[in-house]
């Protein structure tokens, strides 16, 4: 049942090797891909964070049962995607990382993606270990606080990464900011 957890464990071990490979490349010192952390996608595939390299990425930390702001963040990211010129669309990926990895299994992420009509070609949904979620949040300077009912108060931010995982800018995940975000992505 917890096959994906086992996958994480296995890939974490393998990840040690992958980690050094990723780091050995010309990864800038200020790239969040230096984390080298190992994740599982909505398709139960294992993914080293460094594999996001090569595209600009719009990243948000969310959780799928969030009733308040997360839907707005996701809707804003969708608006950004829609508003990008055709030629830019292939150069920008969209990444959602779960703040409640215990309940956001790959299956849950998959059904969330379907429900929200997130195009699998552009959208990557990730779940991992609590520890890696915390380190990633730390690297992105995102604050969050979990309560006993598995709800999470968190910074309402989208982070835009360049092709090498460096933070280009962060923007509030609000629909009013979508067009501005698009302009800033294009101008980089």
């Amino acid at each position: 049942m917890k096959q994906w957890l086992t996958n994480i464990l296995i890939s974490s071990v393998l990840g040690l090797a992958a980690h050094s490979v990723v780091i050995a490349g010309d990864m800038p010192g200020d790239s969040i891909y230096q984390l080298g952390s190992q994740w599982t996608t909505q398709d139960e595939e294992s993914l080293n964070i460094g594999q996001l390299k090569g595209k600009k990425q719009v990243v948000s930390l969310i959780y799928t049962h969030c009733m308040h702001t997360c839907p707005t963040i996701v809707a804003t990211m969708q608006e950004v995607q829609k508003s990008l010129p055709k030629n830019e669309q292939e150069r920008v990926g969209f990444v959602l990382i779960s703040l409640t990895p215990d309940s956001d299994t790959p299956e849950v992420l998959k059904s969330f993606a379907k429900r929200r009509k997130l195009d699998p070609k552009s959208w990557t949904l990730l779940t991992g270990s609590e520890q890696d979620v915390r380190s990633l949040a730390m690297a992105l300077n995102i604050k969050y606080k979990k309560s006993d009912d598995n709800e999470v108060a968190h910074s309402n931010l989208m982070t835009v990464l360049d092709e090498n995982g460096r933070v280009l800018f962060q923007e509030i995940g609000d629909i009013d900011k979508a067009q501005e975000t698009v302009q800033r992505i294009i101008s980089r």
């Binding site: 010192g29 200020d30 790239s31 969040i32 230096q34 984390l35 308040h68 702001t69 997360c70 963040i73 915390r134 380190s135 949040a137 730390m138 690297a139 300077n141 995102i142 604050k143 969050y144 606080k145 979990k146 709800e151 999470v152 108060a153 968190h154 910074s155 309402n156 931010l157 995940g173």
Partner: protein
């Protein structure tokens, strides 16, 4: 019991060079800014290092983990001042080996604790342990205790920090929680001052100084306010002259389960 002691002794041996840990019995802790009728936060029993990690101990870590040398650590994990007080990657002649290591980021502290099979203490754990005076688990009941802590907060840190263990142990046998350096906690980024995404009236009040104080459990615990403010101003890659750390462990991992 004997077996348990044996296991603990074995673990201690395996962690030679690491700080000894003591048991902090779990209890209830009321987070700052929560009103008198808000729920208490339960803290499970855990183990905490008796002393902050020293320069000497951190040097041993760097020797075994060269990716954490001051010239090697990636800038996403550490600011430029990382280990600024060290002469080189592996020496610090000018300063005392037994002083707490500072100029270390959260990432560096986290990596150190993980290398010992430990972790950083959570804010609630740290605060629970730091509640204790020399004689009581809850020192706030003791007259003069808060003033003693505040007196330290009002003094600037000396250029060369004193050795760890210079002050008496608290009720649990832990030294230097107050009076030497500030310390990293695992979830310091859970201090939500602004910019969080869910509405929460207890958080909103914190945007106003007086509003925050009026909602707090014990407005007289000014030292706790300072720690709260300090933590909320931190970023994980910060490296500061008076910010160090110590490690903690869960009950089960320290017992070798």
């Amino acid at each position: 019991m004997k077996i348990l002691s044996l296991i603990i002794a074995t673990v201690s041996l395996a962690l030679a060079g690491a700080s000894e840990q003591v048991l902090i019995e779990g209890g209830e802790y009321r987070p700052l800014y929560m009103s008198e009728d808000s729920p208490m936060q339960t803290v499970s029993s855990f183990y905490l290092d008796q002393y902050p990690v020293t320069n000497q101990q951190y040097l041993e870590f760097v020797e075994q983990n060269p990716q954490w040398r001051k010239t090697a650590a990636p800038s996403i994990f550490v600011e430029q001042d990382y280990l600024k007080h060290w002469d080189s990657d592996e020496s610090f002649e000018a300063i005392a080996a037994e002083s707490p290591v500072t100029y270390v980021s959260w990432f560096a502290a986290d990596a150190y604790c993980q290398s010992q099979g430990k972790r950083l203490p959570k804010v609630a754990e740290w605060e629970l342990a730091a509640l204790a005076s020399e004689t009581q688990a809850n020192g706030s009941l003791e007259s003069g205790y808060k003033q003693q802590i505040l007196t330290w907060y009002s003094k600037p840190s000396p250029k060369t920090l004193p050795s760890v263990g210079g002050s008496p142990a608290n009720y649990w046998g832990v030294h230097d929680l107050h009076g030497l350096v500030w310390e990293w906690t695992e979830d310091f980024n859970s201090t939500l001052v602004t910019g969080e995404s869910r509405e929460d009236s207890t958080i909103d009040t914190k945007l106003f100084c007086a509003g925050g104080a009026s909602g707090a459990v014990d407005p007289g615990d000014y030292a706790a306010f300072m720690r709260y403010g300090f933590r909320s101003s931190l970023e994980a890659k910060f490296t500061l002259s008076n910010l160090g750390f110590r490690c903690a462990s869960d009950m089960k991992s320290a017992n070798g389960d």
